[in-house]
Structure formats: structure tokens, C-alpha cells
């Protein structure tokens, strides 16, 4: 009975939120009035990497390199889905070359030349599939993370590797100062050190930071002094890059924990999905985290929450960006947000589901109703929806901003869409017209 009531309430809440989020067709602040659909992939498009142009990784087999709308080159070779992709710029013969490194479930690593489409290097028979890649430009080496951490030089020669880790393997890596690497492995963050003695590189694990209670999904670099990690149950930890101490700990609890034992299992399950920190991005001062289907903006310097929205999308948020605050979600939409100052009487009801524990150390889950605390946070602002981009028919996996050139989104519907500023594009076309007139001497 109670379960039914709870469920009912929740559903109602969702409806209310959705209604509040419906922006309608009038979006004066949305400048993306032009779109271009790029076809070329035949499977889910997972990754977008900026090379010189743009390239996108398929879930399967192929990578397409696009330039201004045309599929330039298809890089085929992998036999299973691509798990990681990174661009790699190196100097050869005085010129900077940009190549593309891909890792696949077929336990291979490949280096591609995006200009020719050739597979320049290929390493197969890895012991485990690589889940993440990291290029250390300073050292001109790159790292692959799977069940073990491997260090490679630019010629694809294995420099060194760590011993076999747990089955979970390394899911994310960030570079820290002084040749340290932070790698997320399940619930732990492992700090590795790269020792360079002459041409030899040795990697060793320095410390295990086991402060997260659940799997770490997101690990990002904030600035030279800080990095952040986010876990499956909504724990957000800000770390010091040098001494690896916790600078801030946030446990984001969108939902008031269910106290009813009967319904606990089911509700917990649901909540845990919703609180998972899928993605974070930072500009050095702020962090935006995709928490479930909500968004959470945190000021690193002030160590305080700036704004949040429990339900920013109809489904899980997959990717966020901070410069022009945007988020994309499994619901197939990209939404653009604006931080607005709250009217003085702080936004009421919605804040009730938010829990904030700004203390070090692990917090107990229940320290009173968090609803009361929210208005006390100074400088809390609201996230207002200013526009949305609808076009994909599947989950929008990722997007990549090319500044004024536009925004590229990729999706499970096999498409890429470039969203452009229509007015700007129109002006560019005018310029192109006059340029052509001049060339043809028709002016």
C-alpha cells in the first residue's frame, strides 16, 4: 500500500518536473538553427574525438573521420567494438602529426593516420581489452589502461607495465603533476608513478585511495592542484593532486532515502541508478556532474554547490560540458542551461530531495532531512533550461563543441549531427559567395 503511494508520488513528481522543463518551441537564446546530419556509421556511435577534423568511433569495427559534413575516411580493422579512442599528436620531421589511437574489445590497439586512413601500427594479443587511453604529451608516451597499466612509446613499443590488477581493471586515468597518474579501478583510485631513468620507464603503484564506496565512473582533471572522482552512488570527491588528500566530499542524494523496509530493495535499486555520476567536466573552477538524470554544478574553489537540477533530462545524463553549459542524455536530447540567480525566497519544494554533506570523511547517509539545509547554502543559483536540441532518435552518447563551427553530437541511432549557429553560417556563406564572385571575376 505504502509502496503504491510512494510510487504514485514519485510519478507525480516526475510529471511536474517534466512540465517545468518543457521549454516549447520558442527558444530565443538557442542559436543552433541549422543542423547537418552525418551518415556513415552503421552502429552506435560512442566517441567523438577532435583530430584536426572530427572523428567518431563506432561501437563496432569502424571509425569514420568526418570533415565538414562528408565522411572522409572509414578506418576499418577492428573486429569488435571500440572501447577507447584518443588523438595523439607527435612531432616527426619537424611537423606535427596528429594520429588516432583506438582500443577495441578485440584486444588490439591501433594507430591510424587520419589523412590516409592507414592503420600505421597495430598491437594485437593484448592480455586484456583496453578500457582507457591517456597521452602524456610531456613525456611523449601514452598509456593504456585495462586490467593492467601499460606504457607505450610513440613507436608502439611497450615500455613497461604493471602487474595484473583486479578484473575490474582501470576505467579512467588522469595525469597528475610530477609524473604521477591517477587511475580509477572499481572503488579505488590508484596513484602510479612513472620513473624515468634515461630511456627506461618504470611504473609503480604508489598509493591506493579507497574512499569511494562504490564503483568510480568518472575521474577528471580540474586544475593543476585538483582532480575529482565520482562514483556510482553519487559520491563526488575532490582530491589534491599532489598529496592525494580529500579536499571536498559531496554525497549527492537526489532522493530522500526510503525508510520503509518493505520497499527498500526496489527503491534502492532505482535510486542507485539515478544517483550515479556518469560524467563530469570542469573548467578549473566549476565542476558539472551528470548525476543520474540530473545535473549538479559545484564550485571547487568555494567548495560549495552552485546549482543543481534533480531531473534535467527524462533519462540518464551521459555527457556534460561546462563552457556553454550543456548536457545530453539517453532520452535523445541535448539541453542547454543557464545559471540564473535565484529569486530571494529560494526555490521551494524541489530542493527537498537534495542532500549535501560538506565534510571530510565518509558521511553517514542520514543526518536529518536535507530539505531544510538547502536554503542555507549561500549563492545557490538555479539551472534554467534555455534551449534543447532534438534530432537524434536514440540516446545521445556524447557531444563535442567546435566553438563557432558548431556542436557535434553522436548517438545510438548511428547518426552524428552537427548543430550550427544559423546566423553565423549564413554570414560565412555570404562571405564565400563574395569570394567566389571575386574569383570568377563576376563582381
Amino acid at each position: 500500500m505504502l509502496r503504491w503511494i510512494l510510487g504514485g508520488r514519485e510519478a507525480q513528481g516526475t510529471v511536474e518536473k517534466s512540465a517545468a522543463l518543457f521549454i516549447g518551441e520558442e527558444q530565443p537564446k538557442n542559436c543552433f538553427t541549422e543542423m547537418q546530419v552525418l551518415k556513415g556509421h552503421f552502429d552506435i556511435v560512442r566517441f567523438l574525438v577532435q583530430v584536426d577534423d572530427l572523428s567518431a568511433g563506432d561501437q563496432h569495427l569502424s571509425v569514420c573521420v568526418f570533415q565538414t559534413g562528408d565522411s572522409l575516411i572509414e578506418l576499418r580493422g577492428h573486429t569488435q567494438q571500440i572501447t577507447a579512442m584518443i588523438s595523439y599528436t607527435f612531432i616527426r620531421g619537424g611537423n606535427a602529426h596528429t594520429a588516432l589511437i583506438t582500443a577495441s574489445s578485440d584486444r588490439t590497439l591501433s594507430l591510424w593516420d587520419p589523412d590516409s586512413g592507414n592503420r600505421v601500427q597495430n598491437i594485437s594479443d593484448l592480455q586484456s581489452p583496453v578500457k582507457c587511453l591517456l597521452v602524456l604529451v610531456r613525456l611523449d608516451v601514452w598509456l593504456s589502461g585495462g586490467n593492467e597499466l601499460c606504457v607505450w612509446n610513440r613507436d608502439f613499443e611497450l615500455q613497461c607495465k604493471t602487474v595484473h590488477h583486479s578484473d575490474a581493471g582501470i576505467s579512467a586515468m588522469v595525469e597528475l603533476p610530477k609524473n604521477f597518474i591517477a587511475a580509477a579501478m572499481d572503488k579505488e583510485i590508484v596513484i602510479f608513478k612513472l620513473n624515468l631513468s634515461g630511456s627506461d620507464i618504470v611504473v609503480m603503484a604508489m598509493r591506493h585511495l579507497a574512499d569511494h564506496q562504490d564503483t568510480i565512473h568518472s575521474l577528471i582533471h580540474i586544475n593543476d592542484g585538483l582532480f575529482a572522482s565520482g562514483s556510482h552512488i553519487g559520491e563526488l570527491i575532490i582530491w589534491d593532486s599532489v598529496d592525494w588528500t580529500i579536499q571536498a566530499y559531496e554525497h549527492i542524494l537526489w532522493e530522500e532515502p526510503a525508510r520503509d523496509g518493505q520497499s527498500e530493495f526496489k527503491l534502492n535499486h532505482q535510486k542507485q541508478i539515478e544517483r550515479s555520476i556518469q560524467h563530469m567536466s570542469s573548467d578549473g573552477e566549476y565542476i558539472v556532474a551528470a548525476v543520474g538524470s540530473g545535473l549538479y554544478v559545484y564550485n571547487v574553489l568555494m567548495k560549495s554547490v552552485v546549482a543543481y537540477r534533480r531531473i534535467a533530462h527524462d533519462s540518464n545524463v551521459l555527457h556534460t560540458v561546462l563552457q556553454r553549459l550543456m548536457s545530453c542524455s539517453e532520452d535523445g536530447s541535448v539541453r542547454m542551461w543557464e545559471l540564473q540567480d535565484l529569486p530571494l525566497p529560494a526555490e521551494p519544494a524541489s530542493s527537498g530531495f537534495f542532500g549535501m554533506f560538506g565534510t571530510f570523511g565518509r558521511s553517514s547517509k542520514q543526518t536529518g532531512p536535507p530539505a531544510k539545509k538547502i536554503p542555507e547554502v549561500p549563492g545557490l543559483r538555479s539551472l534554467e533550461l534555455i534551449g534543447d536540441l532534438i534530432g537524434h532518435s536514440g540516446a545521445v552518447q556524447m557531444f563535442l563543441s567546435f566553438k563557432e563551427k558548431g556542436l557535434v553530437t553522436c548517438s545510438t541511432d548511428h547518426l552524428l549531427i552537427i548543430w550550427k549557429d544559423g546566423e553565423f553560417q549564413s554570414q560565412l556563406r555570404s562571405l564565400a559567395v563574395f569570394q567566389k564572385l571575386e574569383e570568377n571575376q563576376e563582381l
Partner: protein, 859 residues
């Protein structure tokens, strides 16, 4: 007839209403209206000739003049018309214009690359008039190596022939050029084979001679005989080599031979090289052929022994025209002639109006893709032949070094030349390309004088009167019969030949000053307004509009305006950035004019049929006829649906309109009613999807601007509704079951003029023309908006904002509301994309949209 008049008057009113006749650039609508009117003057031919046709005949050395084929190739075409008789007539005019013979002081035959002659012939007996184009083709087996042919355009309307002389001449010259270049190739091949034969024969003879000498001594009769034979073969080889050299050196040779010599035909037979070929008893040699066959070096052709004497003239089978010219070239010629025949269908007025129409359309290549459909015959001809014939007519390949091209390179060059028109332009300066077309357009005087020389003779031969008096008679006749021009004008001669006047630099070269006075068609110094009035004034039934070449009003006006504009500000093109908006409209007009006149000068440099050349050709699939028919449905839609304006607004502003309905027929009808409002419809109407029964994708919105969509209760139907819902911000939905329209609002007067439900227009085609006129106006504005420098170019790098505001202000100044501005902007984007890419279709296009609220309109 009176009903027709009323229709015309009504249309005239319509013209004035829409005001499009005043727009000096985009006044093609006027002519398209007029071309409607033109259909009224359907020629009622009282003669045996019911329809114009093209006749190709040959003056056969065996049977005399004989008709070869007619275009269209339909016996009904000529009806009771006596082709044989007419062939005789036209071939007797001027077949001897070209010949091959020994020029004085030369020992071997010389090919004369003669110009085609072009004359007009009238025949009162058949009531037929013909433009006759004589040409000669080379044939090694023919008498004097030449086969005289002629192509004639035969019509009962002599005025048409006279006035369209230039156009006919240029079209037939194209055909002739095809034939001749094919012929040169074939002739060269034939010569080469013959040479191989001769060389082979020589080698055989040589052996025999040696044998005779050995057996019978040097001075035996047989030996001398053989030696003579050998000498003959040597001579023949020499002559053939020289012929080959001549034919392969065609262009340079041709230039030298401009003042060719005329000789009587009788001499040709005497001097024929064929007579000089060896006299040999070849029966015994033939036995040896088998043995020596292995000697033949070249695999492609096995040399044969040449018979001593060529077969009797009447025994041998003459090559057909197809054999004479390479088959490819022959078929191209036929194609060209078919196009020519199509393009000269209808009476003079119709031709004039469609020529003007086409020329004006041709000048709008930048924008014409938006709403214009090209006439069917036109793009076939022009788009296909343009590449080949644009500026450098075929064949001429002048090696700059002055060396003669070898045969191989010559023949291959022709092929390449044919495929890649760009080749020849590199080969030499344009002056060196001396085919008929350039001659006509640049230094036409030569050709014409030649033509008239021969014509003079003919005139004397047939009519026995002096040319000038004939001319005078002719024009007198024209003057007198201003209404019915079918009657034969020449009273003094039963048949006559006249050479129409040649126009140079826009002026007449009068044969006799008095002749031209009173000739309406030749007055073109008049300013435009009067011309316009003349065109649609009361005299419209009596007078054809001016022909393109005689004085295209638009061309003239552009030219004049350009000059005046240049006089005012010599460095106009550079000063746009300094303009302020106050003098905007004036300056803008100048830009337009300048731009257009540029393209005009480009146009006039090429032949008249180059008009409407656009990389984007329009469709045979969607014809003007279909659009006119759709006008009726459109008219009904406008009367029936009060929200028609909103629907049209969506189409014009590029927002995809989805017509949703259960019944396919109803949906298709609505699509049909609205499709001609879709800008950039495409050749086959690619931007319209008349009936779709599956959910549409995002990419479909990019492709289709008008979609008929099935409403179904099936699962597919629900996913259709889902896609409608998902993409609702990009589309407008016209539900034809509940008769509602969901779309953004429209405020403004433009579309209410376009689609007034109280319109007085009754006929669908009239309404279509009305719409076309208004859309043309709109296009003109979009053109203006697109190509105004000062509103698009940023003052400095960070000037995006000011450009935006300048653009908005510009459109407001043009008197457009915000919504109407969107239309112009959309059209402008299409123009830009089309201009940049050369085509607005294909490629991966961006798809523009706006974030505006939609409203639901009900009946």
C-alpha cells in the same frame, strides 16, 4: 477569335497588376505570358505543307538530287509534299560551291575546305520556304572526292525562315560541323587505308617489275608496262599522301585557303586522281596476295591490291551518309537536328517569345533554380551541346608549333576533342578556330559574303532579276502583308533566293536602305517602356515581339543602363563598402545590372542557344504543363482553406509541410495543389514526397519540403505519429482529415497577394502564372538581398552583430515583415548554396530551422 482577345486582354491586366513587367531583369514572366498568347497564332497552312521539317538531301553523282531523310522521320510530316521535287530545287541552288581540283600551277589535287553556304529558297509551287544549308563531305570514291549534301529547314512560313535565319544558320552549322568533323575523320581513315593499299601494291609491282626485267630484259614491253604502272602507283601514293596531309592539316590549311577558287565542275572529273591510279592487270597479282599477306605490318588493316581502274561510276555503291561520317558523329548530328526541329516548332511569335524567355532565364542562372522549370527541349539541346560548342567549335586543333599533326594524333584528337571540350581551348587562340559558328558570331561578314556570292548566281539563274530588286520586293511584300504573312511575297519571281540581312554590332547592314524602313522587327532603338508596351499592347496580335537577335529589349536595356552606370561612377565595383543605406536602392540596382550585364556579355559571346545553361538542369519529369495543371488545384485549395496562406508561408520559408491524411487521393491532391510553391523543387520534384506510409527520419526533413503522410491505425501509424511529435518543431502539419494546420503564424501582405481566397482568377494556368510572377519578384528580392555587399560583409572581424542588424534592417526597408524576411532569407540561403556548390541538390546540405511557436489553425 474574340474570346482569345479577351483572354489576352485579361492577361495583360494581370501583368500590370503584378507589376512584374516593370522589373527590368526578371521580366521573363512577361514573355512566358506572351508565349501563352503566342500559341494563338497557330499557323493555318493552306499548302500541302502542314508542319515544318528538316530535309537532308544529296546531289548524287549517280541519280542526281535525292532526298535522304526527313526529321521528324515520319511520312505524315511531309504529307503530299513532293520531296523529290523540292530536293531538286534546293540542290540546284548551290551545290557547286565547293569542289576539289587541280588549282592552277599545282600538279596534284587540292582539297578545299569550303564554307557551308546558307541560303533561303522560296518555292511558290509547293508553297514552301526553306533555309538551305549546303555542305560537302569528302569521299575518296566520289567524283572529285566530294559529295554535296544539303540540309534544309522547310516551312510554309517564309517570315519565320527569314527572321530566324541567324538562329537556323547557327543550329545547322552545329549539325554541319558534326558531320564535317566526323567526315574528316572518316576520310582520313579511308585515305590511310588507301595509302596502305597503294604501298602494298607498289611493293608487289616492284617485285614484278624486277622479275620482268630479269626475265625479259629492261626494255621489254612487259617491263616498261610494269614500270609505268609502278610510276602511276608512286604518283598516286604521292597524291594520296598529300591529300592526307591536307585533311590532317585542316585548320591551318583552311585559314590559308580563305580565298578559294571556284572552278567548274566538269573539270573535276578529268583531274580526278582516280584516273591516275595504276593500270594493271591485276588478276595475276591477285594470286600473289595470299603469299604476301604476311608482309602487312599493321594488324588493324590488311592492305589489298588496288584495282587498276575504279569501277564504273554507276556500278559502284556510294557510301551512305552514316558511313561517310563516323557513325557516332552522324547520330550526334541527327540528335542535333532533332533538337533544332523541336526548337523551331510553332510560329515565329512563339519562337521569339520563347527565345526571349529563354534568354532572360539564362541570365538568371543564379536564381532560376528556385521556381523556374526549363522548357523540355531546351535543356536537352543546350546542356548536351554546350560543352562542345560553347566558344570553341569542334575540330580545330592548331598545333602551336606549326607542325602538322600525324594522322594518329589527329584522329585521336578528334575523339578527345569530342569528349573533352576543354582541350582545344588550350591549343590556340580563339581566332584560329575557324568553324562556321565563330565566323558567324565574330567575323561573319566573310561567310555571308560568300553565301551571297553564290546566291547571286542562283538568283540570276532562277529569277533573272537583280538581287537588290528582289530584296526590295521582298520587303515591300512584307510591309504590305502585315497581317497575313503566308502569301508568297515575291510577285516578280516564281521562286527566289534571298539573303537576309546581317546584323553587326547591333546595327543593320542594309542591303538597300529603303528596304528596312517600316520593318517592325528591325526597330530596336526604342527604349524599353515602349517596347514593353508594344509587346503587350493592342497590336499584340498583329506583331510578334522582337526576336532575340534583332534586338532583345532586355539585352539592350542592360547594356544601356550599364553604360550610364559606369559613366556615373567609373569605379563602382570598389565603392560598395562606402555606401550608406540612404542610397541603397539605387546602388543596389546598379549592382544588379552590373552583375547581370556581365553574364550578358558572357552570353552574347556564345551562340544564342547557349542560354539557360546551368549545371542544374530542370526536368522533363516535372513539366511546365504539370505545374499549370496544378494551378487549378492550388486555386481550389486557396478558396477552400482559410489557412492556405500559412501553409504557403511554411513552404516558402523552408519549413517542411507534412500533409497528414487517411485517404491517399486527398493527400496527393493537396500535395499537387501546393508543390509549385516549394522553392528549389528540383528536376524531378525531388523535394516533394507525395505519399509516404512509413515514419520519416530526420534526414528526410532535410530532403523533403512537402510530404504527404499516411495516417494509419497500425503500429507503423503510431510510430509515424511519434516521429511527427518528435520533430514537431521542424515541421508544420496539415491534417486533411480534421482540416487543421499546425504551424507558426504568418503576418504580412505578401502571401495574401499570392493566395487571396477572393481572387478573381478563374483558370488554374492563369493562377499559376500569377504565382510565378510573384515568386519571380520575390526571387528578385532574394537575389538583391544575397548579392548586396554592404549588408553582408563585416566591417571588421568582430562585427557579427552589426551584420545581423544590417541584414534585418535591409529586409525591413524592403518592406518585409519578420515572417516575410524569413522567406527571403531562406531563398537567399538557397541561392548562396546553389552558387557556391553549383547545385543546390546533392552533397550534404545543412538544414535550417527556427525556434518559433506553432499555432493550430482550424477551418
Amino acid at each position: 477569335l474574340s474570346t482569345y482577345f479577351s483572354v489576352i486582354n485579361f492577361k495583360k491586366d494581370l501583368l500590370d497588376q503584378t507589376g512584374c513587367i516593370r522589373t527590368h531583369i526578371f521580366c521573363c514572366k512577361q514573355s512566358s505570358l506572351l508565349s501563352q498568347c503566342a500559341r494563338i497564332w497557330l499557323l493555318c497552312c493552306v499548302f500541302s505543307l502542314s508542319k515544318d521539317f528538316i530535309l537532308i538531301s544529296e546531289f548524287s553523282e549517280q541519280v542526281g538530287p535525292q532526298p535522304l531523310l526527313t526529321i521528324p522521320n515520319d511520312p505524315k510530316v511531309c504529307g503530299t509534299f513532293d520531296l523529290n521535287y523540292f530536293s531538286l530545287r534546293i540542290m540546284s541552288v548551290d551545290y557547286q560551291a565547293s569542289f576539289v581540283g587541280h588549282p592552277p600551277g599545282s600538279n596534284y589535287p587540292k582539297l578545299n575546305f569550303v564554307e557551308d553556304s546558307k541560303v533561303v529558297l522560296g518555292d511558290s509551287k509547293e508553297g514552301a520556304f526553306a533555309y538551305v544549308h549546303h555542305l560537302t563531305l569528302y569521299d575518296l570514291e566520289a567524283r572529285g572526292f566530294v559529295r554535296p549534301f544539303c540540309m534544309a529547314y522547310i516551312s510554309a512560313d517564309e517570315k519565320k525562315i527569314m527572321h530566324q535565319f541567324q538562329e537556323l544558320s547557327s543550329e545547322f552549322s552545329k549539325a554541319s560541323e558534326f558531320l564535317k568533323s566526323g567526315n574528316r575523320k572518316a576520310f582520313a581513315n579511308e585515305l590511310e587505308k588507301k595509302l596502305k593499299d597503294l604501298e602494298y601494291t607498289r611493293s608487289v609491282l616492284h617485285k614484278e617489275t624486277e622479275l620482268q626485267k630479269k626475265n625479259n630484259g629492261c626494255y621489254s614491253t612487259q617491263a616498261i608496262e610494269k614500270a609505268n604502272e609502278l610510276a602511276n602507283v608512286e604518283k598516286s601514293i604521292y597524291e594520296h599522301k598529300d591529300l592526307l596531309r591536307q585533311i590532317t592539316s585542316y585548320p591551318s590549311r583552311k585559314k590559308k585557303d580563305v580565298d578559294f577558287v571556284q572552278r567548274e565542275t566538269e573539270k573535276l572529273a578529268d583531274t580526278s586522281v582516280l584516273d591516275d591510279t595504276l593500270n594493271s592487270n591485276h588478276s595475276d597479282i591477285a594470286d600473289k596476295t595470299v603469299e604476301t599477306e604476311s608482309d602487312s605490318r599493321k594488324s588493324s588493316y590488311t592492305p589489298q591490291l588496288i584495282k587498276a581502274k575504279s569501277a564504273k561510276c554507276f556500278d559502284k555503291r556510294l557510301k551512305t551518309m552514316e558511313e561517310l561520317c563516323d557513325a557516332n558523329f552522324f547520330h550526334q548530328t541527327l540528335e542535333q537536328l532533332n533538337i533544332t526541329e523541336k526548337s523551331f516548332r510553332g510560329d515565329l511569335c512563339f519562337i521569339y517569345t520563347s527565345q526571349i524567355d529563354g534568354a532572360l532565364l539564362g541570365k538568371q542562372r543564379v536564381t532560376s533554380f528556385l521556381f523556374e522549370a526549363e522548357r523540355e527541349w531546351e535543356k536537352e539541346g543546350t546542356s548536351k551541346n554546350f560543352n562542345i560548342f560553347s566558344h570553341n567549335p569542334t575540330v580545330p586543333i592548331l598545333n602551336l608549333s606549326g607542325e602538322l599533326l600525324s594522322l594518329e594524333s589527329y584522329t585521336t584528337c578528334i575523339d578527345i576533342d569530342h569528349i573533352k571540350p576543354g582541350v582545344e581551348s588550350m591549343e590556340g587562340p580563339p581566332e584560329s578556330s575557324l568553324s562556321d559558328i565563330t565566323q558567324e558570331t565574330s567575323e561573319a561578314a566573310d561567310t555571308e559574303t560568300k553565301g551571297s556570292f553564290s546566291s547571286d548566281k542562283s538568283i540570276e539563274a532562277f529569277g533573272g532579276v537583280s538581287p537588290s530588286s528582289l530584296q526590295a520586293n521582298y520587303f515591300d511584300g512584307l510591309e504590305r502583308k502585315s497581317k497575313v504573312s503566308i502569301a508568297s511575297p515575291s510577285e516578280s519571281a516564281s521562286s527566289y533566293v534571298a539573303v537576309p540581312q546581317k546584323m553587326t554590332d547591333g546595327n543593320l547592314v542594309p542591303m538597300d536602305a529603303a528596304c528596312c524602313i517600316g520593318q517592325d522587327g528591325f526597330i530596336f532603338e526604342e527604349p524599353l517602356p515602349e517596347l514593353a508596351q508594344e509587346c503587350c499592347g493592342d497590336t499584340v496580335v498583329n506583331q510578334e515581339p522582337l526576336s532575340l537577335l534583332q534586338g532583345d529589349p532586355a539585352l539592350q536595356v542592360d547594356y544601356i543602363l550599364e553604360e550610364s552606370a559606369l559613366a556615373e561612377s567609373p569605379n563602382m565595383g570598389l565603392t560598395f563598402s562606402e555606401l550608406n543605406t540612404g542610397v541603397l536602392s539605387e546602388e543596389v540596382a546598379k549592382i544588379n545590372i552590373e552583375y547581370v550585364s556581365d553574364s550578358t556579355s558572357f552570353m552574347s559571346a556564345s551562340t544564342s542557344s547557349d542560354r539557360a545553361v546551368s549545371p542544374f538542369t530542370y526536368g522533363s519529369a516535372l513539366t511546365l504543363k504539370q505545374k499549370k495543371k496544378a494551378g487549378h488545384s492550388a486555386l481550389r485549395f486557396i478558396r477552400q482553406y482559410p489557412f492556405a496562406q500559412q501553409a504557403i508561408f511554411c513552404l516558402l520559408s523552408g519549413r517542411t509541410l507534412v500533409i497528414l491524411g487517411v485517404d491517399e487521393g486527398t493527400v496527393r491532391k493537396l500535395v499537387n495543389a501546393l508543390f509549385f510553391f516549394v522553392p528549389n523543387l528540383g528536376k524531378y520534384g525531388e523535394t516533394v514526397q507525395p505519399w509516404l506510409s512509413s515514419p520519416f527520419q530526420l534526414t528526410d526533413l532535410q530532403r523533403w519540403k512537402l510530404i504527404g503522410l499516411q495516417r494509419a491505425a497500425s503500429p507503423a501509424g503510431s510510430s509515424i505519429l511519434h516521429s511527427l511529435n518528435r520533430y514537431s518543431r521542424y515541421i508544420s502539419i496539415l491534417d486533411c482529415d480534421s482540416k487543421t494546420l499546425r504551424c507558426p503564424p504568418y503576418k504580412g501582405t505578401l502571401i495574401s497577394h499570392l493566395a487571396d481566397h477572393r481572387t478573381q482568377i478563374k483558370r488554374g494556368s492563369t493562377y499559376f502564372l500569377h504565382v510565378q510572377g510573384m515568386l519571380t519578384q520575390l526571387t528578385a528580392k532574394a537575389f538583391l538581398y544575397t548579392f548586396c555587399h554592404h549588408i553582408h560583409l563585416p566591417m571588421d572581424i568582430n562585427d557579427q552583430g552589426s551584420v545581423t542588424s544590417r541584414r534585418t534592417n535591409f529586409l525591413l526597408q524592403l518592406g518585409y515583415t519578420v515572417e516575410e524576411s524569413k522567406i527571403v532569407q531562406y531563398l537567399s540561403e538557397l541561392i548562396k548554396q546553389h552558387y557556391i556548390q553549383g547545385s543546390s541538390m546533392g552533397g550534404n546540405q545543412s538544414f535550417c530551422f527556427n525556434y518559433t511557436t506553432s499555432y493550430l489553425y482550424k477551418i
